[in-house]
């Protein structure tokens, strides 16, 4: 990180309008009690199959990243290219089964800024 000190920066301002390359979703998978919990690879597979089911091969080809996945709580953060947000979200919403058992994806938060997912005031319990 050591570098020669550059001269003091002159003021500059850039406004980026709806320019985010990606959108992020914090999701939780709900399964009936006692069901087998998917591993991270199975989880990703489930997301891809949900996309394929609703949007076909083009949907399945959408680049989606599982940034984190917690098997214990079945919660994850997904990243998708911005133009695929509505497709990914609707695919998750209409997914009804995992391994022939009922399931439901709950989208807890979405944002074009990953940073926003680290401080959601709607989930803070202050008292």
């Amino acid at each position: 990180m050591a570098r020669a000190e550059p001269p003091a920066a002159t003021f500059e301002r850039r406004v980026l309008r709806s320019a985010a390359e990606h959108h992020y979703l914090r999701v939780r998978l709900e399964l009936p009690d006692g069901g087998a919990r998917p591993s991270v690879a199975q989880f990703k597979q489930l997301v891809v199959s949900a996309l394929r089911e609703l949007h076909g091969e083009v949907g399945a080809a959408l680049p989606v990243d599982v940034l984190i996945y917690e098997e214990k709580t079945l919660s994850a953060i997904l990243r998708v290219i911005s133009s695929g947000l509505v497709k990914l979200w609707s695919a998750l919403t209409l997914l009804g089964f995992y391994q022939n058992r009922r399931c439901a994806f709950r989208v807890l938060q979405t944002s074009p800024f990953l940073l926003a997912l680290s401080g959601n005031s709607r989930e803070l319990v202050l008292d």
Binding site: M1, P6, T10, R14, L16, A41, S111, S118
Partner: protein, 365 residues
């Protein structure tokens, strides 16, 4: 114009990211003003690379972030009472924000430190209150939400004025509004009564911010050059790359994936360096701008002595359901209520400031 259904599937909700660079010691720098103007903050985090133990002076600053209060079932008319205005609003910076109300569904109220009381109410409440307001900017053609702004420190708002009596009557008798409120008060002189004693008849609770410390090991950090906001290929990373990277760090996302990886292809932007230790502190509560400015100042002073770190960051999350973002700019919640900002403070006290808002927001200042 109607949009064909299929194209709608590719559209993204509106959002804005403003990136600025400047120098923290520049006489005309507005960076502190941007902090002051963002009134309602629920979480503050700072990340210092190459730092294992926090200096004493920063520890003290964090410990001094101060209490805030939660008052249950407080009638809004109590905030327009002259005893309250004289004791608190006019004698310092008084902050109030309704707690557990949703700006896209419920009525919401907020008191800004400049003495403006903002009510964001649905159409029914607006009609019943009978106070003058304006339609919400984000309510669409059929207006379903109205914003009422009352200046409590206005000279025409003295106890006997018609205006004051009308507001009091509307909020007390016409349509009594009651909320749980988060309250905080900042005044320079320690004189006068406290919120705790003033609202002793109400159900009031003093709360302390929750503070967590974390040491991150072997963290990949992007290389940044303060005068290159957009980055330079092979030399430094851009402000957007930094913004995403910081989000990844604060969400504990793994940074070392390959493009061929099945699970995730996210990786730390290039070029980057690995730092052995980085210190991450997170403060959660109802945090007032005055305290954030103090913290920002202390973080600048961190570079007063030679340090290994080339830069550090300070992230501030606003309340998703606040009726304003910066100043009195209306804020709403469409799919998310993001209103947040992040500082990168460089060793030479240059800074980058990133301000982000969602769909129902004005451009940040």
């Amino acid at each position: 114009m109607s949009v064909p259904p299929l194209r709608r599937l590719r559209q993204v909700p509106r959002h804005l990211l403003v990136c600025e660079k400047g120098h923290a010691r520049h006489a005309r720098s507005r960076h502190a003003a941007h902090v002051q103007e963002h009134a309602y903050n629920c979480r503050v985090s700072f990340l210092i690379p190459e730092c294992g133990i926090l200096p004493e002076v920063l520890k003290n600053t964090i410990a001094d972030v101060g209490e805030y209060y939660l008052v249950r079932n407080l009638s809004v008319h109590e905030l327009v009472a002259h005893e309250f205005i004289d004791a608190f609003v006019k004698k310092g910076s008084c902050y109030a924000l309704t707690y557990n109300t949703k700006i896209d569904q419920d009525n919401t109220a907020a008191l800004l430190p400049n003495g403006k009381l903002i009510l964001s109410v649905d159409k029914d409440t607006y009609e019943e209150l009978g106070l003058q307001g304006r339609p919400s900017q984000y309510s669409g053609k059929k207006v379903m939400r109205y914003i009422i702004t009352i200046d409590l420190t206005d000279s025409g708002f003295h106890p006997d004025s018609k205006k004051h009596n009308r507001v009091l009557w509307a909020l007390k008798e016409k349509k009594p509004l009651e909320f749980d409120f988060l309250l905080a008060w900042y005044n320079t002189g320690a004189e006068g009564s406290t919120l705790m004693s003033y609202f002793s008849k109400n159900q009031i609770q003093a709360l302390k911010p929750k503070i967590t410390f974390n040491t991150l090991r072997d963290l990949q950090c992007p290389v940044l050059q303060s005068n290159e906001l957009q980055g330079k290929p092979d030399e430094s990373c851009s402000t957007e790359e930094l913004f995403e990277w910081l989000g990844a760090v604060l969400n504990q996302v793994s940074l070392d994936n390959k493009s061929s990886s099945f699970l995730s292809t996210y990786c730390c932007p290039q070029p980057n360096t690995i730092v052995e230790k980085a210190f991450l502190c997170t403060i959660t509560g109802f945090i007032i701008p005055e305290k954030i400015i103090q913290l920002l100042e202390q973080l600048c002073c961190y570079f007063g002595e030679p340090k290994l770190a080339y830069w550090l960051t300070l992230t501030v999350h606003g309340f998703a359901d606040s009726p304003v973002s910066w100043r009195e700019s209306e804020h709403g919640f469409h799919k998310g209520g993001e209103n947040l900002y992040n500082f990168v403070i460089f060793r030479n006290l240059d800074y980058w400031l990133q301000m982000a808002v969602g769909t129902n927001d004005d451009c940040p200042p």
